[in-house]
Point group: D2
Chain length 292, copies 4
């Protein structure tokens, strides 16, 4: 069988590591519009799309595929890359993958007979991204707290993906981790994993005993009333996306140190982050019957 051909176009440094990771499989990888200072190894780096002699089986768009639904985001180029130019580099029926693909973007490619899929909707990517997120939270805690994490009293609110990974890493470095959740089954899991379980109804009563509070619930959990009970020396890290779960304005007024840590994977571990996307793309191909 011929090697699969990938065109990786646009995006930040993670796409370079994604391209390198794909090139470690049986695959031929072309890149365009990536960081020119950090060339993707084992890949064919194009300076013009017209240099592409062969047509690609798979087009890999960036994490935020497009700002306008017409072109791929390309911060390392002067301007974004028009989808039309990318489409010309693809085989008929090729697969287009990207992150946070808008309806408009999907329509552009699907109307031209390409298959479109979003790697950011894949659960295994979300799970794998929990590791750099948890490590990022640990790094912030280490940088901000004047005590060792070993022995620190840490409260984690919620017990979804990010909370589990974060509770696990803080426990691993010998913090005393309490997990606060609503469902008794979640509390049973927390206990099984060695965390102290705490029903969410007790948060107000017990919040003052923690050196570090990490929120993972995207709803206002750490509101004025709760923050007011916190020890002044404690640190708050919010890992929840979108609305967040911490009243930062109140935290500021109370002189509490509170940090909203978003998009940690790309910040703390761009190499691993890019590799995680590559591995997810490989799984997407496997499910379509293609083994690299």
């Amino acid at each position: 069988m011929d090697k699969m051909k990938f065109l990786v176009a646009g995006g930040d440094s993670r796409q370079t590591y994604l391209a390198q990771r794909l090139a470690r499989e049986k695959a031929k990888v072309f890149t365009y519009g990536l960081d020119s200072a950090n060339k993707a190894q084992r890949c064919t780096v194009l300076t013009e799309l017209s240099q592409m002699a062969e047509q690609a089986d798979v087009l890999v768009l960036p994490l935020v595929s497009s700002a306008d639904g017409k072109s791929a985001t390309a911060p390392f180029l002067d301007q974004d890359i028009p989808f039309a130019a990318l489409a010309d580099c693809l085989k008929a029926g090729a697969l287009v993958v990207g992150g946070r693909i808008s309806e408009q973007t999907a329509e552009f490619f699907e109307s031209r007979g390409f298959a479109v899929a979003d790697y950011f909707l894949r659960e295994e990517l979300m799970v794998k991204n929990c590791i750099p997120t948890a490590e990022g939270a640990l790094q912030i805690a280490m940088e901000e707290l004047p005590i060792t994490i070993s022995g620190a009293r840490v409260l984690i609110t919620g017990f979804g993906r990010v909370a589990r990974a974060t509770a696990r890493i803080f426990t691993a470095v010998d913090a005393q981790v309490t997990v606060c959740a609503r469902k008794y089954a979640d509390l049973a899991w927390a206990e099984l994993y060695g965390f102290v379980p705490m029903h969410i109804s007790q948060i107000g009563e017990k919040i003052s005993k923690f050196d570090l509070v990490i929120n993972t619930i995207p709803a206002m959990v750490l509101n004025h009333g709760i923050l007011a009970k916190l020890d002044k020396k404690s640190l708050v890290i919010d890992l929840a996306s979108k609305p967040g779960g911490v009243d930062f304005e109140t935290a500021r007024q109370l002189d509490l140190k509170a940090i909203w840590a978003l998009s940690l994977p790309g910040k703390v571990a761009p190499v691993t982050s890019g590799e995680i996307i590559a591995e997810t793309v490989i799984n997407m191909l496997l499910e379509r019957g293609v083994r690299l």
Copy 2:
């Protein structure tokens, strides 16, 4: 507030520990028909139901509540305990809890105005029972294998509750644990927890490399074709309920050691097992607004 009154009637040794665990809360606990050789501490042990001066708020039936839908199983008595006699000891509107409650049993109590609930359907009980199950599997492995578990190559099929707890404990004692599942998100979780992930499509190809195979999938995973590839010195433990997942007849013919380990919690840790049920009953009351 008055102390809650419990009547714990029938069942095996776990009910004794259940009763003792309830008595550690603010509660008054009566027992009837339990093991007379191992009296429940801090409980009022009745030798006749007629000795019960007060009426109970909660009746706790055994794990298999009833064999005939008319009486509570009572292996330590000459005969099972008629539901009618138990109903006479309850307050109006009392709660009746038990395990694997049949329709007929539920109807008996509900038609008399009692609330009925099955603690065996509670997810937190199933999660908590995974710990004694996993410990039981480890104990069997230690007893049967002539090698240390540290360094042993262990394959666990499936990634449900029991598989997660079992993979965790074997990893904790330094086995090399591979988890075999179908969904990529499960494999991502397995990797996050430090297990080697393996897609189930590879089981035939790789099965010969393991010292121990633990099945948790209730479907014929370890069939003739797979068992035939196993190393003759390896051990198979099946933790899957109902149909199981191992072709034991083939294992016998191939002279493979294969053990179907069912109902481990009651066997390896009856005390903890009884306490888990008690804690589940306490949660059930909390959800009904009753804090002991």
Copy 3:
């Protein structure tokens, strides 16, 4: 370079696994007087020493090399193997290794120009043997206690090799492990490893709170006064060799379950045990400049 030639003579089932492990290196391994029902794979099994065509570079004697200083212990033969017959199978200047080599045994071989070394005096063997010992202690605890090890309150006396490995494995399976020692530096290590440190002066005051007490100190630590304070349901395991550290007579009178668990490695993991000796012999050769 020619392959090294080993003659493994006498001993119990561990010597079979030792021979197999050596044969996995670049080495030619002859065996004599081992278990005939369980032939060492990849080895040349001799039924008479006279069948040995080549002379060996290394003679491996059993764990207890000799009962009389004149012959190698050989429980699988009708009688022990005379050293003189073994010496005839060796090259001039060959190395003789064995366990617990007596002065008389050493003299026999040294006076004939052979080098003699005891693998049982090697520290790495003692360290490696701590794993099967700790696993054996865990197995006993699982078999004897009616509670899960997860959550069990375990006291370990001493902080030598065996104590460290045992505290580690019980902590790994989520027991609450307290380590009791005299030196503050040992207590600091215990804390670093996640165990609760307790100065030995407090043992009398706190002993009643444990479900399991594991002694590793070869001196009478668990004497009458201490045992009398133990909870009647608790279990005592003594891992200390020679005089032991538990007053078993008092334990019997108090109806306490106390188990003296000696020589666990050979009992719970004879395969691993034999391999540990083989790896130690390989190190001994490395130190003499011989790489297999």
Copy 4:
């Protein structure tokens, strides 16, 4: 019994936390010359030594007790504190403790009838300091490496106190940790703790495979020849004191990132650091028969 009286004089922020920690015991704690911006809680803060109404049982000098053998280092005051003034605040026969006490300092106090002891020579302090050191190394690795520590290939040279604690924390966060040492017993311990053992003779052959190399040996281990074989993307952290173990000049020429991380406890965790000293002082008193 009367409360013990402590005078904590001079030093950096750690002495504040030390004083606070002592004050949590049954003790009366006076401080002089500490950070005025961060007052030690539960302590009596003196602005002049003459304010001290009572005489102290114990004088606690800073980590580096004295620069000149005549006065206590006091970076928060305009000038160091003359020993003579401090001696006037002590009971006859009081205990003077400090870190890195010089002969001249010891002689000053001993000649006046005081007992003198160095807490920096205590092994439990060295052990406890390994935790902030290991956390500091992890923090640096997280900050400098573009990959997750989970999955990173880490080599640790040496197997003393710092190496053990560092190997443990990196393993806890799922790095693949190899320990490189000379003694086979150390390698056996490394393996028991779940690290990959590697004899130091193999370092040249295998060094290129690591993402991170952490040296703990105070001798030139990572010399020109070894550094030249390192992957250019890998990171070197030197935790060894005094001469260090990395040829930093060569590292610079090779464009390798190499960091000499000294005195991490005071930098990454001043609170814990001060508490560790306080706990050591408490032990020193216990050994003199004084329980706070």
